[in-house]
Point group: C2
Chain length 316, copies 2
């Protein structure tokens, strides 16, 4: 199976919900997405941490076979995010962001990783995402995430980097904001017109939608009775999504649709616990079980599928 | 194909959106649901209208092969509802309700209709729904709708009638309210425990979910770029849903899932125009086309389906 490169943040998060509060737990887009993707294929992270970053946290990533050798350690504080969720556990209110060493970091892709075929560019300044694209050679598939801040402040750069990648992943509000329309369908058409092969619009508790020139695919979220912490759902989604593509090696509409379901599965495990704990503890067996459950939720002819075990080749 | 009986309101509606305003347009649960169901199978309405109800509006129903012979005309005003939608065109704010002759009406099911196998009990006082059930003889399938007002004021009667029907159809907020939980999954389990074979939770712009003891099926709404008037979406859904079941004659999980898609298709045509105009103008050809489109939005292996033309038997 093909290798994956994740470029993004490693962070410590303070997270509040109406039910619980956690301080300085492991987070960051690269952590969530790499842990999810590592279930599917070998993953390397290009990232940066400060002097306060615990060696044991790098060890947690390494224990899940995530290559941490291209994570730089720099003098200063690690990226730190504090946020709060209300009772509906949907969108977060940011209480504070301390970029620390992440603030003026420019990702350096080591030569040994420059040929990695699958690349996830997690949320960061779109100009830096464009720079990073210069350092990877003819990747098979680049998946891009961004956020409302960049759409507000660097709309042109966001559009430029979207035009250079294979898959754009944004949430519903960001898609509407970028295209200044309420209609998701219209927003999707405009974003696809920028050039990406596929667009994913993440809809939180309502699931995610894939748009390509050939149509769209609407998956619900995996129905959970209990959610502890929505932080990292989108990045875990991206990890499962690119993980499946790297594992299957094909990027057609069917594999993209399956990849969406894998993304949803990973996100569901991420939100069941605080921090990366749920996605860290996830096994292929549990992911497959939930994947099959999710497939049945969108299958009209319930249970009928010709699809083989998605992890089959890694098993006896 | 089996026949359908619809018991519910015929009304005149005043509808406001931020974009337009309509006065005294044809509405009411029975009108929307019967017009939708008439696409699939023969439908009769048991209902009541006042002296102000236009003969031409009964003629509109009759023109779509809806049997209007069991609609009583009584001295007094017809049911009149006035409501307003905000920019998101989701939930309505009721500006006024004048029940008129509907207020103290008790549905009389004529003997000739008492054996109708498929019955839709549209929203009305749950005690009256229970009474109505006494007047139908061993129906194959009864579909029930209700609303927040009855859950607030007659919770026990609502639970009692739910325990006596085959399919309960409520919206997300009503399910949460009835079961006093945020979790849709938990609410579904509790409502199914009352006895119905299936539960539909309508989720507005996010689609609808079917729950049975064997699993759940999550359909998105049909993605539309333009919505004019959400009034009647739920009743049009119910019409398409029961219409498909009556047409197919089978009530298993596959047909229930297909019925959900037919419901979504009918709802999508209803909301594209004010009043019943969209559902009145709908043809089998256009419904099939949109049904196929909707299927592809939830099919992982895009486009592959063994399903025959849903209206095939009615065609040359």
């Amino acid at each position: 199976m093909a290798k994956i490169l994740v470029v993004g943040s490693l962070a410590y998060d303070d997270v509040q919900t109406p039910f619980e509060r956690k301080k300085r737990v492991l987070g960051g887009a690269a952590c969530y997405s790499a842990l999810a993707a590592s279930l599917y294929a070998p993953v390397s992270i290009v990232g940066v941490v400060g002097t306060d970053f615990e060696e044991s946290d790098l060890e947690r990533l390494h224990a899940k076979h995530v290559d941490v050798s291209a994570i730089e350690r720099r003098p200063g504080r690690s990226f730190h995010w504090a946020g709060r969720y209300d009772y509906d556990l949907s969108s977060a209110e940011t209480l504070g962001t301390d970029l620390g060493v992440f603030g003026d970091w420019r990702p350096q892709v080591p030569d040994a990783l420059a040929d990695t075929p699958f690349v996830f560019l997690a949320n960061i300044d779109p100009d830096i995402q464009l720079e990073t694209l210069e350092h990877v050679r003819t990747p098979t598939c680049v998946v891009l995430d961004t956020m409302n801040f960049w759409i507000d402040h660097k709309r042109d750069a966001v559009a430029r980097v979207m035009s250079r990648v294979d898959v754009v992943s944004v949430n519903e509000a960001e898609a509407r904001q970028l295209c200044q329309t309420f209609s998701i369908v219209r927003a999707a058409r405009e974003i696809l017109a920028l050039g990406p092969r596929a667009l994913i619009i993440k809809r939180g508790e309502h699931g995610a939608t894939l748009f390509t020139k050939d149509g769209s695919f609407w998956s619900p979220a995996f129905p959970l009775e209990k959610i502890q912490d929505p932080t990292g759902a989108g990045d875990s989604f991206a990890g499962g999504f690119i993980g499946h593509l790297a594992r299957s090696g094909r990027i057609d509409d069917i594999e993209l649709r399956r990849a969406v379901l894998h993304g949803i599965v990973c996100a569901s495990f991420a939100v069941e616990t605080f921090s990366v704990d749920g996605i860290e503890a996830l096994t292929q067996e549990r992911a497959v079980e939930r994947y099959r459950g999710l497939r049945s939720l969108v299958s009209v002819e319930a249970g009928s599928t010709s699809e083989a075990d998605p992890f089959a080749s890694a098993r006896p």
